[in-house]
């Protein structure tokens, strides 16, 4: 009887812990999973590596991450269930110092087919080589926006401040 209670207790504890695994990914209010990957790493960077700056009522999230080596790629995937409408998003990477757009893509859709996009960041940001070239360093903002019909009126849903030290 005692062992039955022990098993039950362990099961309850495990069930209550399971949502923590989900926390290892950024998931926006719209159900878009955002993952950053280091070079030669199959696992996404853990959520613990980020500093959460803010979240507002609309679901907007701002995170910050500082790394020594540039991040290899960013992966965005829709975790919608079926029968939801395709939603258009854009991703913009801006160099904070020069205020120049480094990378931009405005036709991401998530929804019916729950698409996954994998975008290389290296060497557009930083350099693939280990040699510490000056163009490895810098501060960037990765912004994920919901595209509305009105240009320049995009709804920011997520920002990652990304610094290569």
């Amino acid at each position: 009887m005692k062992s039955t209670y022990s098993i039950l207790l362990i099961t309850v504890i495990l069930m209550s812990l399971s949502p923590i695994t989900v926390l290892s990914d950024f998931v926006t209010e719209d159900g878009i999973k955002v993952q950053l990957f280091k070079q030669k790493s199959k696992k996404p960077i853990s959520l613990k590596s980020y500093t959460k700056n803010s979240t507002d009522e609309s679901g907007f999230q701002e995170y910050e991450i500082k790394v020594n080596e540039p991040i290899e790629k960013i992966v965005l995937s829709g975790i919608f269930e079926d029968n939801l409408e395709d939603l258009p998003y854009s991703i913009t990477v801006t160099n904070v110092l020069t205020q120049k757009v480094v990378l931009f893509k405005d036709t991401l859709t998530f929804g019916y087919d729950s698409r996954t996009y994998s975008f290389p960041l290296i060497p557009w940001i930083g350099n693939s080589t280990k040699i510490p070239y000056t163009d490895n360093k810098g501060e960037y903002i990765i912004s994920i926006d919901k595209v509305t019909t009105e240009r320049y009126n995009e709804d920011k849903i997520m920002i990652i401040k990304y610094t290569i030290e």
Binding site: F104, P123, W124, Y133
Partner: protein, 152 residues
Amino acid sequence: MKSYYSSLIITVMLSILSPLSSFGDIFTDDGINIQFFMKKVKKPISDNKLMEGSIVGIGDRVLDKIVFRGIRDWYGEVDLDIKIYKEERTDTLELIMSKHIQSFSFTPKTSTYTLPIYPWIDDIGIYYIEIVDGGKKLIEFKYEIMYSDGEG
């Protein structure tokens, strides 16, 4: 004698024409070779085609990458600006990709520097790609991705 002259003429013509083979490449003053590759194609896009001012991508045949290669031992500062603009419906150009390369080791063994274009650019539309070397425009061309059969 006639055949000797014929072969001489052919040799002379070939030696004149042979530099054309290097026309498939673009070089900076520092000896950096720049090549553009389409997806699933091993040979770079010919310089003649680039100099015409425009290339077209259809379906899976889209621009895959830009490769920078050192052709001699050299390390130091470079001043290369790579910019890609997209033409908007309003006939304005929007900067969608930019990279400034300021230092790199261009040696024959460790020289290759690849900038992936795909999948950042794979949508139907008109793009302009320019590379500026030390303030001097090295190349600029229009890149248009069109509908493939069965699309649109």
